[in-house]
């Protein structure tokens, strides 16, 4: 595409990726979550693909596939973490450590370091959505040869 699109893409892609990470990270406090943040981050991949063309980002296909596999495996492993009680039991909530702070009672703006396995599962879903949609976009761009008009 034109130099205008490429310059705007160079400025906007990091901002879109950071906003996707914000939506995933605050998934248990604010609207959004794994799927929404992953879709927002994948739109950065779409912008990159439209700006520079598919053959330039051919190398990204394998990392996206690996990211998708890792997200799915991480989700199931986090589900098995609570197997002592039930599958998907939130065994990390309120235990201290990562995302284990107790939730304060009463009205509060929301504490990020709470909710146990839920934010970690949001990250797993977000990485899986980013990897899946990114791999689909790159494969779609590569379909039918490299005629870049």
């Amino acid at each position: 595409m034109s130099v205008v699109v490429r310059t705007i893409a160079r400025i906007l892609i990091p901002v879109i990726l950071v906003f996707g990470g914000y939506v995933i990270l605050h998934g248990h406090l604010t609207p959004g979550g794994g799927f929404q943040g992953g879709a927002v981050a994948a739109s950065a991949v779409a912008l990159l693909l439209v700006a520079v063309g598919a053959p330039a980002v051919k190398k990204l296909k394998a990392p996206f596939s690996v990211l998708e596999d890792l997200g799915g495996v991480a989700f199931v492993v986090l589900g098995f973490l609570g197997i002592g009680f039930t599958f998907f039991a939130n065994s990390l909530a309120g235990m201290g450590g990562l995302f284990g702070a107790p939730v304060p009672s009463g009205p509060n703006p929301g504490v990020l370091n709470t909710a146990g396995t839920v934010p970690l599962m949001n990250w797993a879903v977000g990485l899986k959505v980013l990897g899946g949609l990114g791999a689909v976009l790159v494969l779609f761009g590569l379909f039918g040869g490299d005629d870049d008009r």
């Binding site: 979550g33 929404q36 879709a39 739109s43 779409a46 598919a54």
Partner: protein
Amino acid sequence: MTILAILQVLVLILIVAGSVLAVWLKDLLASVIALGASSLLLALQFYLLQAPDVAIAEAGVGAALTTAIFVLAIRKTRRKEEE
């Protein structure tokens, strides 16, 4: 009729206008951009109707990803619609 209801009706009229434009235009790239604008206005309507979760999903998938996929498809085929 409050200001919020007027805004919702206005956004709905603009959604219908964008959709009609997407069907009516013969230049497929302009048609796809009209469809993306319509989708973005639909996300705004979801936000006005107190559903920010759906609005983020609609803005990410409907406005960005489908538009990019349609642009890639047009790049691989023809740009003008034939009669």
